[in-house]
Amino acid sequence: MAEEVKKIKVTIDNISIDVPMGTTILQAARMIGGDVVPPAMCYYTKLEGSGGKCRTCLVEVSKGSEADPRPMPKLVASCRTGVMDGMEVKNMTSPKVEDARNGVVEFLLLNHPLDCPICDQAGECHLQDLGYEHGKQGTRYEFKRRTFDKHDLGPYIQLHMTRCILCYRCVFTADQLTNKRVHGILSRGDHSEIATHIEKALDNDFIGNVIDVCPVGALTDKTFRFKNRVWFTKPVNAHRECKCCSGKVTLWQRGEEVLRVTARKDQWGEVEDWICNECRFKKKQSADWTIEGPTHVSRHSVISQGHYEGMKKPTETFSAVHEGRKPKLLMDIHSVSEVNDPSIDLSAIDGPATSATYNHSTKKS
């Protein structure tokens, strides 16, 4: 057995924990859990080299270590700062951190288009959560928000550059999961943008994971585009036999339709197992999957509004009481309502629904 890793003591918001040497402050805070965990927009445990870009995880180190108890002169990015023995960190107990974080959020939202009503990420967006906790009511920015020329990233991934916060997660994902990265950050400063050099499609086998990794709605699933709001779909854990990936996914269903497939995410919103493009984009039938049961959704999330988890359906007593007779349906909603028309299978369409989708089917029926 390897020699025992030396444990060192770190105190975050007056809560002490012993962690192995080389742990970062953010990871130590995540070991404690709860409210002391700083938010992270760019850091991703499973991506090497990520972190240090968004500055939302800034914390105050009020005591450097047991050997050198001086506080660190400036706020530090907790995702890239290793802990020292006897270090004392202030996160939510420090007004300086609170103030700095508010400033960072204001900067992140400076050029953000705030098109959450349209954005497919709304409801599971980390920037939304961050803005909800630290954001201001209005903006102080007086100029025109920057816009970009649209780039097409192929048939599966939709890029909205105006929503991007340049966290580089997708770049690391492409570098570390796929054998060839074709997209990256072009230009510098205010003009930096995610793009492929001279219009290439992202079609590598694991490239779909950039959608899950994106903390905002910059990279979204084209096969799910505008089909439904995230919180109206039912998340269920499912798996299938897959040659190239673990096959463990979350299906986002509407009735029996599978509108979207994503990887399973842990409590920090990070992917548990990477999944391949075939599982993500091609398997949109519930028959393709073995369904395990509803995904656990935090009750603070709007996605939990469906209350699917732990739901018990009452047994239908009518036919038992009435000698097997079925209850008489007074009004079939589909005969009146045009919404959720059973003849339109949204999951079968590759892209977003358009006026043609609906007009065509009404002609057919």
Binding site: C116, M331, S337
Partner: protein, 183 residues
Amino acid sequence: MASLTNRVKVLEQQPLSFMERLYLPAIFKGMAITFSHIFKKKATIRYPEEKRPFSPVFRGLQVLNRDEEGRENCTACGLCAVACPAEAITMEGAERQKNEEHLYREEKYAAKYEINMLRCIFCGLCEEACPKDAIYLSETFAPSNFTRKSFIYSKDELLIPHPINDKEGYDAARVSRVEKLKK
């Protein structure tokens, strides 16, 4: 029987007097009260001809709004549906195509939008939730009807008339709202 509290009052019924036994004076007294009401102000109005003014905070039938150019405001964001306590609102979104810019204000729009008026409780939470000023409650009732199906209101019933093509209809739908906002 022992009383439960000390507040019991014992009523003593005395036999009726001669005048009371006649009954007629009491009848005439009652008739006089009834007759006097003819000259008083009426509490009712003749409804379809006469209408009472609505309160400025009245919440009636929903209207889907358009902007000045007649483009639909709704982007099918689903906030009204998630805010609705009666779960009366459903919708389906679609992507705006190249030649549809004059119809819809944003990239995404509500291809289908329905309110089940049998479920709606006119609480106005949809209006409050809407980030696009796309739905508001007007000062009209949902008209009564004999069938259930006629209460599923789709975009045909809910959309405000086009402000350029049907200016009169738009103004009529808009005027009460504008007055309300002025106050």
